[in-house]
């Protein structure tokens, strides 16, 4: 076999370096597909970009989360009622077999605790200094449990190598030096990853029949003896992932934008081939939305469709590669598009803006969820982003709102990922609430252009860095041109949900001349977003009022009183469209007198459906 040499040697389409490139990894690894084991070695170079001296390195050894029941992952999962699978194939782990620095064997000094390995340095690294070391390891991939592993001949080779944590000490221009350390959290049941930007040069050997997708670009491919070695390169990314399966079919497309072209490759399972165009369309629409915030700097985006038995790996983001899944849904149900759109949005909110996914999960999940909504609105219209089937419809934001109103009143978004009460609370606050908040800003506080300006400023200021909540708020407000702490503080730091309601609609006769009508509005919790109300009178007249419960009127309720010839009939809040963050829509309007017609129609539809079921059941 002759080697295939490809011309592309960089994964970037913009002139680099784009990030501080604090770390670099040269890796060689081989997949034993029968055993589900990856054996590898890596040469790691790390630069101390802080103002402090570093005396210890910390590595993520994430696969140890699946080594036994005593891992942090399974202990936390157990607290939430999820039991560890006892089957041997569900076990995984990573064993670091050799650590050498400058030719000196330091394996004995490498201390592993759960899914973190620490190496005390014999010679501390001063500010600006570098350290280089060589590691060898063996990773056993578990049956797919969370984001990584194997399912038959499909391999999601993720979180598979010893990966340095992030030094969170201040830089040379930061506050006075203090003891510095690496932030390397164990793999938690809830929460994802955190690593530093750098370069990856990876040679990965697989059986020749496998098709492989990976972070970055393929530089070279060499085949020999029934196996092939693929050489990948990626710059200015903070993780490296591979997906391998002999059954992948490749579908390619190109997305043109203001900075050139992005190559899209979908690796799709043959049984899901019918979904290929849906995934690619969603990915292209997502890139189109993200383009408003700045360039996607890489040449490629690989989308990997997982087989049905690997769905726990099927909604996960990595730099320049995302895993998606093909729900067996008709065209009118947009679950496949939503998954691809969400994971593609992570290319910015995680990929470029590498916030700490453990400490501030909403910064990547919430903003990616918000962009999912935008992408689906672009594809299908705003009113039916989740589905439109037989006249029934639901939006993604409705799903978010329903989840948020059910589970969002427990934890605030600014909660560490593993500290959320449960998965639903995590999703409601870190994902749903932020998407609803961004839509509220678009519709009721700012406008879509100013929201994009805020997000663009955040991206410009913090790309290739590790922003936190305050960094986001400051940058967003700067871009939007307004101090929005009154909005962000209750949204991010409180769990109390927003609920506007019409509390009362009443009218009393004032004699033969007319009526005294009264409408009372109230707000329960949440940010004091301005709200409008339409007050309709029996003579057909409508009065639109606005209530801004801030500044000189911070009260939780507001009464409107009218005197006139006709009594008030009804009051309806937010007539132009409900406030996205408003959890409860039932109480957004109130009639003075009851109208049973809608109820009768609803009951009639249920009755006829029941009649059909009785007939089908038989007598």
């Amino acid at each position: 076999m002759f080697p295939v040499v490809l011309a592309i040697v960089t994964a970037l389409r913009l002139a680099g370096p784009l990030s501080p490139r604090t770390t670099s990894y040269d890796m060689t690894a081989e997949l034993d597909d029968d055993a589900g084991v990856v054996r590898g070695s890596e040469h790691v170079r790390w630069r101390n970009s802080s103002a402090g001296t570093v005396r210890e390195l910390a590595f993520h050894l994430y696969m140890n989360a699946f080594r036994d029941d005593d891992s942090v992952y399974w202990r936390e999962a157990g607290e939430r009622g999820q039991r560890s699978p006892s089957a041997p194939e569900a076990r995984g782990g990573i064993e670091v077999t050799s650590v050498r620095m400058g030719g000196v064997d330091r394996t004995g000094a490498f201390v592993v605790e759960d899914s973190v390995g620490r190496l005390p340095l014999e010679t501390p690294v001063p500010p600006g200094g570098t350290v280089e070391l060589d590691l060898e390891w063996r990773t056993r991939l578990p049956r797919i449990i969370a984001r990584a592993g194997r399912a038959g001949d499909f391999f999601a080779v993720a979180q598979w190598f010893p990966k340095l944590g992030v030094l969170t000490c201040p830089g040379p221009d930061g506050p006075a030096p203090r003891p510095c350390g690496f932030r390397a959290e164990p793999y938690h049941h809830l929460g994802e990853f955190f690593a530093d930007f750098g370069t990856y040069d990876v040679r990965f050997t697989v059986p020749a029949r496998f098709r492989v997708g990976a972070t970055g670009v393929l530089v070279d491919e060499q085949a020999a003896g029934g196996r092939k070695t693929l050489h990948f390169r990626a710059e200015d990314v903070h993780d490296f992932v591979l997906a391998a399966c002999p059954r992948f079919e490749s579908v390619r497309a190109v997305y043109p934008d203001a900075w050139g072209e992005i190559e899209l490759e979908l690796l799709v399972m043959p049984e899901h081939a019918a979904f290929a165009s849906r995934h690619l369309r969603a990915a292209a629409a997502a890139l189109g939305e993200l383009e408003q915030l700045g360039p996607y700097p890489y040449r490629r985006l690989t989308i990997v469709d997982v087989p049905d038995g690997a769905r726990r790996a099927g909604s996960q983001e990595y730099p320049t590669l995302v895993f998606t899944q093909s729900h067996d849904a008709p065209e009118g149900m947009h679950a496949p598009e939503a998954t691809t759109a969400h994971e593609t949005a992570h290319q910015f909110f995680y990929g470029l803006l590498a916030s700490d996914e453990i400490a501030t999960p909403w910064l990547d999940e919430g903003l990616a969820e918000s962009f999912t909504d935008r992408v689906l609105a672009r594809l299908f219209g705003r009113a039916q982003t989740a589905y439109e089937v037989a006249g029934h419809r639901l939006t993604m934001l409705d799903i978010d709102r329903l989840g948020y109103r059910h589970d969002g009143a427990v934890d605030s978004p600014e909660t560490r990922a593993f500290a959320f009460l449960h998965q639903d609370s995590y999703h409601a606050s870190a994902y749903a609430k932020i998407a609803l908040a961004v839509r509220t800003l678009e519709d009721d506080v700012l406008d879509p252009q100013r929201v994009v300006a805020g997000l663009r400023r955040y991206v410009e200021r913090w790309r290739f860095a590790h922003p936190d909540a305050e960094d986001f708020v400051r940058a967003f407000d700067e871009g939007a041109g307004e101090d929005l702490h009154w909005f962000w503080n209750p949204v991010l730091f409180d769990a109390e949900p927003l609920d506007y309601l019409v509390l009362d609609v009443a009218a009393q006769p004032l004699g033969p001349a007319g009526f005294r009508s009264e409408v009372v509005l109230a707000r329960r919790g949440g940010p004091p977003v301005p709200v409008e109300v339409d007050v309709r009178f029996a003579d057909g007249r409508t009065v639109r009022e606005k209530w801004t419960p801030q500044g000189s009127d911070p009260s939780r309720w507001r009464r409107f009183v009218y005197e006139g010839a006709a009594p008030v009939d009804e009051a309806v809040l937010a007539p132009a469209g409900a406030i996205a963050l408003d959890t409860t829509r039932w109480n957004d309007g109130l009639r003075r007198l009851p109208d049973p017609q809608p109820r009768r129609r609803f009951i009639a539809s249920l009755g006829v459906a029941l009649l059909g079921l009785l007939g089908a059941w038989g007598r």
Binding site: M333, R592, F602, L614
Partner: protein
């Protein structure tokens, strides 16, 4: 030929068909009342109630999240409706078989009363069979849900149609056998139904096809009507009239099956299973 003569006989007795339809409509109307009353407080003063019948499913979910007891009430009402439908439907079906198959001249009410308990007993057996079939189906659908939505729905529809048609035909045989000889044990009537089905395969297949096709057609029409109501197509009065018409059609089709299958059972069963009149 069998069906044609049954259709003629049913057409000659519209009041019996009307009674069957009335049972269905009454059961549903009564079952819906508690839910309707419980919803009055929540819906009648809220303009958002209109969203419920505009296809906005978020409103429905929100309502159920806030008032989970309403869902329980709806499910309890549906369960009760099934049970009452089983009792009343079985009694009326027994009377209909007695009058149209057994030529009972004493009138419908007398026939209904005479066979009531045995008809309910047979209905319970069929109910149990259907429930078991659905439980088995539930396990298969569970394996397909939610990742193979289309396949799960198709399997569900096929199974409901198959289970419903098969049980309807067997039950029609058994009912006729029970009415023909009130002393015949119910278990024997049930076994007899299987014997008749096995010995009269062509007729049984015809009845199965008739039941599956007509029941499926009416079911689709009814569910389309329910869907139309749920997204505000047409007026309530027109829709309810259509619902009543569909209930009548359904009752007539059921009656045709009861009569046609009943005649086959009565005519053929004695010829294959000799009746023992005396013992040595």
């Amino acid at each position: 030929m069998i069906l044609r003569s049954a259709i003629a006989r049913v057409a000659a007795s519209p009041r019996l068909v009307g009674l069957l339809a009335l049972v269905d409509l009454t059961v549903v109307a009564v079952a819906a009342q508690p839910l309707s009353a419980a919803l009055a407080y929540d819906l009648d003063r809220r303009p958002a109630a209109l969203h419920l019948v505009s296809g906005d499913d978020a409103s429905l979910v929100e309502l159920v999240q806030d008032r989970p007891e309403l869902l329980q009430l709806a499910l309890r009402s549906a369960e009760l409706a099934l049970l009452v439908h089983l009792v009343l439907g079985s009694i009326v079906a027994g009377g209909l078989v007695a009058v149209l198959v057994g030529d009972d001249r004493r009138g419908l009410w007398v026939a209904c009363r005479e066979h009531a308990l045995r008809m309910i007993g047979l209905g319970l057996f069929a109910w149990l069979g259907r429930a078991l079939a659905l439980a088995g189906l539930g396990l298969s659908v569970n394996a397909l849900w939610p990742h193979h939505l289309d396949a799960a729905i198709a399997l569900l529809a096929l199974d409901i149609a198959g289970t419903s048609a098969l049980s309807a035909v067997l039950l029609a045989y058994a009912r006729a056998l029970a009415v023909e000889r009130p002393a015949r044990p119910l278990a024997r009537c049930l076994v007899g139904a299987f014997v008749v089905a096995a010995r009269n395969r062509r007729a049984s297949l015809l009845f199965l096809a008739w039941t599956a096709a007509t029941a499926f057609g009416v079911l689709v029409a009814q569910e389309l009507l329910a869907w139309g109501l749920s997204i505000s197509i047409g007026g309530v009065a027109v829709s309810l009239f259509a619902a009543a018409l569909l209930a009548l059609v359904r009752a007539a089709l059921d009656a045709v099956l009861l009569v046609a299958a009943g005649r086959v059972a009565v005519e053929r069963y004695s010829s294959v299973v000799p009746i023992v009149t005396s013992t040595a």
